[in-house]
């Protein structure tokens, strides 16, 4: 019983990480119609960037986040036209091509990372890792490390910024227009290629930053990617494909379910258990938790 509050806190923490991963993933799907199966590898590459930068510079990794974002966002922006090219070939099914292409990309990143970074697990040392808070209430008590709390604050801040960007700026208006009706967006003057490249850049930058955070809170290794890809996919499907507003609830739900299972089940089965719950929910409501997906 005393594990419950701890599991809840861990779940909220995981959920917060899943939110930011899944929002980017969902945006890319909405605007580019690409299910990016390389998302976990962008996270992994970001985590290694954070790891080595911290090792070389001894700067607090939290402070490195903006730099990691800028570098990876630029990389994503420059990389996007290649994906666009792959998808706009006249033969074949674009959605499938996107899946296969990004899957291959992920495999390649993972292989290269194993060659250059090795097979070992690391973690990124942070000043925040030492401190912790003691929370008490209603007869329960639990401790939360300050690095996790910082992670939660970071995740909520990123979510807030993205929300603002999408809902209250003209760039966001263009992004939503593209996602909802590409031709009409073009008629309004929205530049599909440029906007898509920006969206992909923002998504890669955020994924990489999140990788650094995951490296601080949990751990990082060349093989860490696929778990996060799977969860990003789960969250987006649970939220309803393309229904961005459903992402936070779906992410917290999956995060909490996962951390509860981690207590009671062999870690090898957690993913299966989470999948079973996802599947059951989809049986009842095929278009996601809120029935608003596609």
């Amino acid at each position: 019983m005393e594990l419950l509050p701890q599991a809840l806190m861990d779940g909220i923490m995981l959920g917060a990480i899943y939110i930011i991963i899944a929002i980017g993933f969902s945006l890319v799907y909405g605007v580019m119609h690409v299910i990016d199966f390389a998302v976990g590898e962008w996270i992994m590459l970001g985590a290694f960037a954070g790891f080595y930068l911290t090792e070389w510079t001894h700067v607090e990794p939290m402070l490195l986040l903006p730099g990691v974002f800028v570098v990876f966002a630029a990389a994503g922006y420059l990389f996007q036209p290649l994906i666009h090219r792959v998808l706009s070939g006249h033969r074949g099914n674009p959605l499938l091509m996107g899946l296969v292409f990004t899957f291959g990309l992920g495999l390649m990143f993972r292989g290269l990372a194993q060659t250059f970074f090795g097979f070992y697990s690391h973690s990124i040392p942070s000043r925040f890792s030492n401190g912790s808070f003691f929370l008490q209430g209603g007869g329960f008590s639990t401790t939360v490390s300050s690095v996790r709390l910082a992670g939660l604050v970071y995740a909520l801040a990123i979510t807030g910024i993205l929300h603002y960007l999408l809902k209250h700026t003209d760039f966001g208006l263009g992004v939503r227009a593209l996602a909802q009706n590409r031709d009409a967006a073009g008629l309004m003057g929205v530049d599909n290629k440029r906007t898509s490249a920006f969206v992909y850049g923002i998504y890669v930058g955020i994924s990489a930053m999140t990788g650094v955070l995951i490296g601080m809170i949990l751990s990082l290794s060349a093989k860490m990617g696929p778990d996060f890809t799977i969860f990003a996919f789960f969250v987006v499907v649970l939220a309803g494909m393309g229904y961005l507003a459903g992402v936070p609830a779906a992410a917290f739900l999956l995060g909490i379910i996962q951390s509860f299972f981690l207590i009671y089940l062999d870690p090898g089965y957690t993913l299966l258990a989470v999948f079973a719950i996802l599947y059951t929910i989809l049986l009842v409501s095929p278009r996601g938790l809120f029935g608003k997906g596609v």
Binding site: D170, L173, G174, R176, A177, Q180, N181, D183, A184, A185, G186, L187, M188, G189, V190, D191, N192, K193
Partner: protein
Amino acid sequence: MNVLEARGVSASYGDTQVLREISFTVKKGLLVALLGANGAGKTTTLKSICGLVRPSAGTVRYDGRVISGLPVHKVAELGITLVPEGRQLFPKMTVEENLVAGSYLKKAKEKRKENLDRAYAVFPRLAERRTQMAETLSGGEQQMVAIGRGLMQSPDLIMFDEPSLGLSPLLVEEVFRVMRMLHEQGLTIFLVEQNVRQTLRIADYCYVMENGRIVQEGNGRDLESDPRVREAYLGF
């Protein structure tokens, strides 16, 4: 002065040729109409002007500059607006967000507030429904949003693709009233319609299209008295 000029424009979807060397001009400040039966190629004509379809031959010029082959957003930047067939709204945006999306470009952004007021003045019904999601609007209301969104672009040339399609007679009147008003304000209009009788009445010049070709042209009165047009489109 010719604002819009198409010369020998052809277009295909895959192997099927839909436009066969069509030529037409739209002069500044005029309301020019393009008539024709279902499947004649009217929508394709508009799409090849605004960059949604790339012509396989021929050129489209706007103010003397070749625009065929430009991507759609570049054509929009030149001040050409299409109010597309079937409304093509942003379904998950509110009425107001749809209208504001029309002022995405820099030039229109500067007049956003003024144009929004104008759109609500033209269609007071939209003001009542500004926070309603576009997908839940009635067909007529959606058409008002589509027209309003086009006006938000502060266009120099506005093209309408069957704006009266599926509307009640009262609303058809309303849409024609708005087009007449825009025409009187000096806007250049290129109108695709199946509502031939009303269109002939407001158009300065008309083209008639059949199977991807322009088969006839003239001013409204000439066409109205033309036996072939009477038979094919007016039913008497």
